[in-house]
């Protein structure tokens, strides 16, 4: 899927501002951004719920404005909370949405999806008796029923228990193996880290950073802050500073705090040991993705 220069003007300002992105086949693409960043608005434009002020959406090369029906056949979506018909059973809800697919959806397919989202026990109960997590599962079920090639999920783990989130990640992986692309939005970074291949950070409607989760974890190793618990802090500091005057060292009562590359930790250790200093412990405190995210979004504000 490709989004080009997507813009939405609401109440006199650009809620989504010239946003362009490409989602590869079989990829899980994360939309990360604080509340009000414009994630839901972007998704609404992609699925045609609201008009675009500007921009273009291509699904498998199909322009969603020109061939809405064909584009929508490729898409399965949950926009914000999955609202279902409460007076119908889960099963009746699925039949309802199955009838809205262009291809015929068999009963076996419905059963298969119900099993996948683990709702077999409750599927013949009325949705008004469902918990939030169960409704979320039903929401996922209706979105994948017609085997869409692009799945768009707005905060899908909202309301799921840890077990549910774990299972959810597992079946997203399974779907992508079959070639489905997924867009997931969230304001929880830790979740994105576990789920996505790439994460786009959105701030005030602008795309401020796209990086693979892998990259994000890599880059942070450069900025590791490491604490060495040693017998003689004064001597240790002198030795290290002598070896490398540039090195940032903060001395505390029984430990030194250094900022260095992750790969340099064994080297420092060796120097200290060779100098006859006892090393009782090395604690490397990595900058979390959370911190990185906060840093990035802060930059976004000042830009």
């Amino acid at each position: 899927m490709e989004v080009k220069n997507l813009t939405k003007k609401l109440g006199g300002r650009n809620v989504v501002d010239d946003l362009s992105l490409t989602v590869q086949r079989g990829e899980i693409y994360g939309f990360l951004g604080p509340n009000g960043a414009g994630k839901t608005t972007t998704i609404r434009m992609i699925v045609g719920l609201i008009t675009k002020t500007n921009g273009q959406v291509l699904v498998n090369g199909i322009d969603a404005d020109k061939e809405y029906s064909n584009a929508m056949t490729q898409i399965g979506a949950i926009v914000e909370n999955p609202e279902m018909y409460k007076f119908l059973t889960g099963h009746q809800n699925l039949i309802h949405f199955a009838r809205m697919a262009k291809e015929k959806i068999t009963n076996e397919r419905i059963d298969e999806v119900v099993k996948l989202v683990d709702l077999e026990d409750a599927i013949h109960k009325k949705v008004k008796t469902y918990s939030l997590g169960m409704r979320q599962r039903l929401g996922v079920a209706q979105a994948i029923l017609h085997r869409p090639s692009l799945l768009i999920l707005d905060e899908p783990t909202n309301g799921l228990d840890p077990q549910g989130i774990h299972e959810f990640r597992a079946y997203l992986r399974k779907l992508t193996k079959e070639g489905t692309s997924v867009i997931v939005s969230s304001h929880l970074l830790s979740e994105m880290q576990l789920m996505c291949d790439r994460v786009a950070i959105i701030q005030k409607g602008k795309l401020i950073n796209v990086s693979s989760v892998h990259e994000m974890s890599e880059s942070e190793s450069e900025q590791t802050s490491v604490r060495f618990i040693v017998s003689n802090t004064v001597k240790a500091q002198d030795i290290l500073q002598m070896k490398d005057p540039e090195l940032e060292i903060t001395r505390q009562s029984n430990e030194l705090q250094l900022t260095l590359k992750h790969s340099d930790i064994p080297l420092i250790n060796e120097i200290l040991v060779n100098a006859g200093i006892a090393v009782y412990g090395i604690i490397s405190k990595q900058q979390t993705l959370e911190e990185k995210f906060l840093e990035l979004t802060k930059e976004g504000v000042t830009q």
Binding site: I50, M72, M84, Y85, H96, M100
Partner: protein
């Protein structure tokens, strides 16, 4: 491949899986059966030659009431007409109290008002409720245009309207038939005009015409409710305006009476049943084809407007 039929099936499922729909159908049935029971108690059928005595009694009573000097002239005329009518029955050996399945349906035609009310409620709710439930966004992200979704909803309301009309007709016919005997389609219904003129129509014909024309004008009212439901996304407002259209018609007609252009307004043209049995229309130059044409034009304008506004609207519910 699934198509529009699937959408219509869906809308029907949503209508008939709601308890409200069955309550409406139940109330209608109750009114029909209850009406029959009350009718038997307070409005007896005079069998054999009993009716002659009853008609004679009516004449005597009317004559008595006409006497007295302070009786208003209008009332006297009414009584005079009443007497003439009853005299006619006696002379021509017509039992006006005769009941059969068709006369029973004829009496129950008043219930079309209740039917209209129920249909307006469903029409007002069918789009707006998707907004209140938040399901509208689940409904829209499908390979169907908004026009197709609206169409399936509108068709489903019309099917519901048809179902209630059929219920009214069939239940009345059955209850009436079981109580008073089936048949009687050709039973002559005598309508006496104010000037003493007399029209004779087969009661079955009156029934079918009233139902048919009532159905047609209800379609226009449904379209109005549907439009408000779609455009304002508020079921309560749509129900309110729909019901006002149902009942405020007469008042509006009176207000319009002095203006020539009044006949081009929708309301007078919704009273299609006035044309049955040669009734006089509220405006000069109006006729059944005229009213049907005006109704059709309003209907098309309403439907196109609804579709156009809904097509462009941002769905942010």
């Amino acid at each position: 491949m699934n198509g529009l039929l699937g959408l219509i099936q869906n809308e029907n499922m949503k209508i008939y899986r709601r308890p409200r729909t069955w309550i409406f159908a139940g109330i209608l049935l109750l009114l029909i059966v209850g009406g029959a029971i009350l009718g038997m108690k307070f409005d007896p059928e005079y069998s054999g030659s009993e009716w002659r005595g009853q008609v004679q009694q009516n004449i005597d009573e009317a004559k008595k009431e006409m006497k007295g000097d302070d009786t208003p002239e209008d009332f006297k005329n009414m009584m005079k007409q009443d007497i003439a009518q009853n005299q006619y029955y006696l002379e021509n050996d017509i039992n006006p109290y005769e009941k059969n399945a068709w006369t029973f349906i004829n009496e129950n035609l008043l219930l079309t008002t209740i039917v209209s009310l129920f249909v307006v409620v469903v029409a007002s709710d069918i789009v707006a409720s998707e907004f209140t439930w938040g399901t509208i966004k689940m409904l829209m992200v499908r390979p169907f245009s908004r026009g197709q979704i609206l169409f399936s909803k509108f068709v489903s309301v019309l099917i519901f309207q048809l179902v209630l009309y059929i219920e009214l007709f069939v239940a009345s016919w059955l209850v009436g038939g079981l109580l008073f005997g089936f048949g009687g389609f050709n039973f002559v219904d005598h309508t006496f005009g104010l000037e003493g003129g007399l029209t004779e129509t087969a009661v079955g014909e009156t029934v079918l015409k009233t139902l048919g024309l009532g159905f047609v004008s209800l379609i226009v009212i449904v379209a109005i409710s549907f439009m408000i439901s779609t455009v304002l996304r508020s079921s309560s407002l749509a129900i309110g305006i729909g019901i006002a259209t149902l009942f405020a018609g007469n008042a509006i007609n009176l207000l319009l009476a002095k203006y020539d252009w009044g006949k081009f307004v929708l309301f007078p043209n919704l009273e299609l049943t006035t044309y049955i049995g040669g009734g006089s229309p509220p405006f000069e130059g109006m006729s059944l084809p005229f009213s049907l044409t005006v109704d059709a034009i309003y209907f098309v304008v309403i439907v196109v407007l609804t579709w156009y506004i809904f097509k462009k609207r941002d769905i942010a519910a």
